[in-house]
Symmetry: C2
Subunit: 423 residues, 2 copies
C-alpha cells in the first residue's frame, strides 16, 4: 500500500454548489487512502516521499458512470438516427464483431489505452454478450490501473440473431460462467450485472438474472427512459409496470438491496423519480449521447433538488468522446438549451455542479470516492495547462474551467487511482 504527498493547486467539490480551490497545498495519501489536504505539511508526514507538481492543478479522478467499450471503435460516427434505428444499424453489427477474439484484442486495447490517458479513474462499462471478449476487456482494464465495473451484456430477444443469446438458459449459463471465471481474480475490475434494457431481455431472463445478482452479490447497470419510442415499447412489453423504472423494479433489478445505475433518465416522470429515490438508484447523465441521438435533455437540477443520486457519463459511442471534461461542458450546454427551449423552472447547470457530478456525484457509486476527504480512497489527476496560452493572469478556478472547455489528453500530466500512480 502506498503512502506519499503531492503538492500543487488542489481543487475539489465540497458539494453540488461549491468548488474549493487551495493553492500550493499538500495532498497526503497514507496506505492508499487520503489523509487530508494541508497548507503546511504536518510533521508526521514529512518523511513520506513528496512530488511537487508546482503550478499544476490536482483534482479528484473522475467517474464515468456509463460507457460502452465495444462502441469505442465507432465513436464519432453514424450520428444521424434515433436510438432504436441507431442500435440496429450501427451498434449491433459492430458489437457482433467481438465474437472474434482477435478483433476484441485490438479494439479493447485501443479503448483501454484511451481511457487510461483520460481524466477518468473509475468507470462502469458495458461489454458485449461474449464471455471471452468481456473477460479480455476486464484483464485490459485491470492492467490499465483504472478502477472499473464491467458487465457482460444480456440480450435474448428483439435483437438480431447474429448477436442475441439464443435462449434464456444460454444467457444465464454464459453469465454464470463469466461470474465464476472472474470471481476474486482481479483487484480493481469487478463484474456488474448488465441486462441491456427491457426490450432485449425476456421476463424469465430478468427474473433469473435477479437470482444470479443475489447469489453473487453484485450491482446492476442498465438503460432507462432514454427515448420516447423505447419508453412506449417497454409499456407494451411490460404492461403491468407503472412505468419503465417499475418494470426493472418488478424483476428485482432496480436497487434497494443492491447498487444500481440507470443510464439517461431523460424522460423520467415524478413517479419514476420517486422509485429511484426510494431505491437509491444512481442516474448516469449522458448529455452528449442524448444530443447526438436526439433523445433530449434530462432535468439534472430537478433530480438533484429531489435528492436523487446523479453522476456524469460519456456514454461512448452515443457520446463521441471518452473525455469527462467534454461530458461536463456538454452537460452545461445541454442544460442551458433545455432551460431556454423547454422549461425555465429547471435551472441550467453551473460549472461547479458539472464538476460535482463528474467527481463526487458518480464517485459515490464506488464508495468514498471523488473528493479529498480524510479516509476516502485516493484518486487524483494532475493537470498541466501550459499549452493553453493566454495573455492575462488567470485564477486557478479559471484555469480549471478553461481546461474543461479547451483541454484534451495532453493536459493530463499524472494520474493516481486508488492510491497507485498510473503515469
Amino acid at each position: 500500500m502506498a503512502s506519499f504527498v503531492l503538492k500543487g493547486h488542489i481543487c475539489q467539490s465540497l458539494d453540488r454548489n461549491h468548488l474549493q480551490v487551495r493553492e500550493n497545498h499538500y495532498l497526503v495519501c497514507v496506505e492508499d487512502r487520503c489523509a487530508g489536504v494541508y497548507p503546511i505539511l504536518p510533521a508526521k508526514y514529512r518523511s513520506l516521499p513528496m512530488t511537487d507538481f508546482g503550478d499544476r492543478l490536482i483534482i479528484p479522478g473522475m467517474t464515468d458512470l456509463h460507457l460502452h467499450a465495444p462502441q469505442f471503435s465507432f465513436r464519432g460516427l453514424g450520428m444521424d438516427m434515433e436510438l432504436l434505428d441507431w442500435l440496429n444499424t450501427h451498434t449491433f453489427p459492430e458489437e457482433a464483431k467481438y465474437q472474434d477474439r482477435d478483433y476484441a484484442e485490438k479494439a479493447y486495447s485501443q479503448f483501454a489505452n484511451h481511457l487510461r490517458r483520460s481524466e477518468t479513474t473509475r468507470a462502469c462499462v458495458f461489454a458485449t454478450v461474449h464471455v471471452p471478449a468481456t473477460e479480455l476487456l476486464m484483464e485490459k482494464l485491470e492492467q490499465s490501473g483504472l478502477v472499473t465495473y464491467v458487465g457482460k451484456v444480456n440480450m435474448n430477444r428483439n435483437s438480431p440473431l447474429y448477436l442475441a443469446e439464443p435462449s434464456t438458459v444460454a444467457s444465464v449459463r454464459n453469465t454464470r460462467q463469466w461470474l465464476e471465471d472472474t470471481a476474486g481474480k482481479l483487484t480493481h475490475t469487478k463484474p456488474i450485472l448488465t441486462p441491456r434494457f427491457i426490450p432485449s431481455c425476456t421476463d424469465d431472463l430478468l427474473y433469473r438474472l435477479a437470482d444470479l445478482r443475489a447469489e453473487f452479490d453484485i450491482p446492476v447497470q442498465s438503460h432507462l427512459s432514454e427515448n420516447y419510442s423505447e419508453i412506449a415499447w417497454v409499456k407494451e412489453l411490460v404492461p403491468t409496470a407503472r412505468n419503465y423504472g417499475d418494470a426493472y423494479r418488478k424483476f428485482g433489478l432496480f436497487g434497494g438491496d443492491h447498487k444500481c445505475i440507470m443510464a439517461h433518465c431523460v424522460h423520467s416522470d415524478t413517479l419514476e423519480m420517486e422509485y429511484m429515490r426510494q431505491n437509491g438508484v444512481f442516474i448516469a447523465h449522458s448529455p452528449e449521447s442524448n444530443m447526438n441521438i436526439a433523445s433530449g435533455v434530462a432535468p439534472i437540477s430537478k433530480f438533484l433538488d429531489y435528492g436523487l443520486k446523479v453522476g456524469l457519463a460519456t456514454d461512448v459511442a452515443g457520446g463521441s468522446h471518452e473525455s469527462m471534461f467534454r461530458a461536463m461542458t456538454h452537460a452545461i450546454q445541454a442544460s442551458k438549451l433545455r432551460w431556454r427551449l423547454l422549461d425555465q423552472s429547471v435551472a441550467p447547470l453551473t460549472f461547479d455542479t458539472a464538476f460535482y457530478l463528474a467527481t463526487r456525484g458518480g464517485g459515490a457509486f464506488f464508495g468514498d470516492v471523488g473528493a479529498f476527504e480524510p479516509g476516502w480512497e485516493l484518486d487524483a489527476v494532475v493537470l498541466d495547462d501550459e499549452n493553453l496560452d493566454h495573455p492575462q493572469p488567470l485564477t486557478v478556478k479559471e484555469r480549471l474551467e478553461r481546461i474543461a472547455y479547451l483541454g484534451d489528453e495532453r493536459n493530463i500530466h499524472a494520474k493516481f487511482a486508488d492510491g497507485a500512480r498510473l503515469f
Copy 2:
C-alpha cells in the same frame, strides 16, 4: 502566382445535401485558382510540381463567418450569464485592455497563431474600438496567410465609459483614420465596417457609418436577434423599425447594395427572414455561443429552405474554441435538441449540411470560395487522422466525420489559402 498539384482523398460539398468523396484524385491549382479535380492527371498539368499526400484527406478550407479576436483570451471562461450581463461582466473589461498596444501584441499573436493552425482559411473578425490594436491585428492576420475581413468596432452608447468612443464624431473620425491607414496596404486582410450592434450605436452614428461604408465600398458585419432581452431593447431604441433587422435596414447597413453578415439570427421571424433574403444578407450561425450564453438555436434548415445565405461561425468567445469542426458538431447537436425540445417542423442538420455551411456556405461571402470548382479561389486543408485509432476499416467519409468529432489541430497536416501554402 502559384501552380501545383495535390494528390489525396478529396472531399467537398456539392450542395447542402451532398458531400462528394473522390479517393486518390488530383487537385490542380493554376495561378492560385482551382483548375479541377481529376482521377488521372491531364497531360497539360504533368509538368507542375506535385505533392502526394497519400492516404490523407484534402478538403476545402473553412470559413469562420464571425468571431471576436480580443475575446480569444477568455475563451472557455465565464459561461454563466446571458448576453447583456456577459458583455458587461466579461467582455467589455477584457476589450478595454486592447488600448494597451503591448497587451494587444501578446493577445493577438496568440489568436493569429491558433487561427493559422486551425482548419479555418477565411474569417470575418471583430476587433475592438481601438485603431492601433485593430491595425496590429490586421498585420498579424496578413502575416498568417489567412484571408480575412477585420472590423474596428463602433460603439458610442450604452457601453462603459472606459471602452466606448466618446462621441459620434470621434467614432467616425477613428473609423475614417483606420480605413485610410489600411487602404490598399494589405493583400489578404480587408476592412469591414463593424457597428457592434444597435444598442451600442446612436442613430446618427449609424447614418454616418453608412456614408463611410459607401465612400470606401466595404462590407458590413454586426449582430442580429441573438437574445430576447437584446431584441426587446432594440425595439425600444428604434421604435419605428418593424423588427431588429429593419433597424439596420433603415440606417442603410443591411445589405442590398453591399455585402453584409449578421451573426446569430436565433429569433428572426418571417419578416426578418424576408428582409434578409431580399438584401442577400449572410447569416453567421454560431451554435456553441448560442448554447453557452443560453440564447437558443437558430432554425438553420428553415433558413436554407427559405433561400437564405448561411455560413457557420465559432463566435469566439461566446464559443469557446476556434475550431470550425467543433462548430460543425455543435451545429448538428444543437439542431437535434431544437428539433426534440421545440419544433419538429425544422429538420436537424446532417453532417453533410454542416460541412456545407462550414465550406461553401460561408465561403460564398468571399466570392468563389469553399469548394474545388474550376476557376474558384483555392483554399485547401490536408487532414491526417493517423492518431485517431480504430480497429475496423473506415470509408473516407467516415474518417472525415470522425475527424470533425474527435480531431484537433494535430490533425491539420497542411494548409493552403488563396493558392499559397501556409504550412
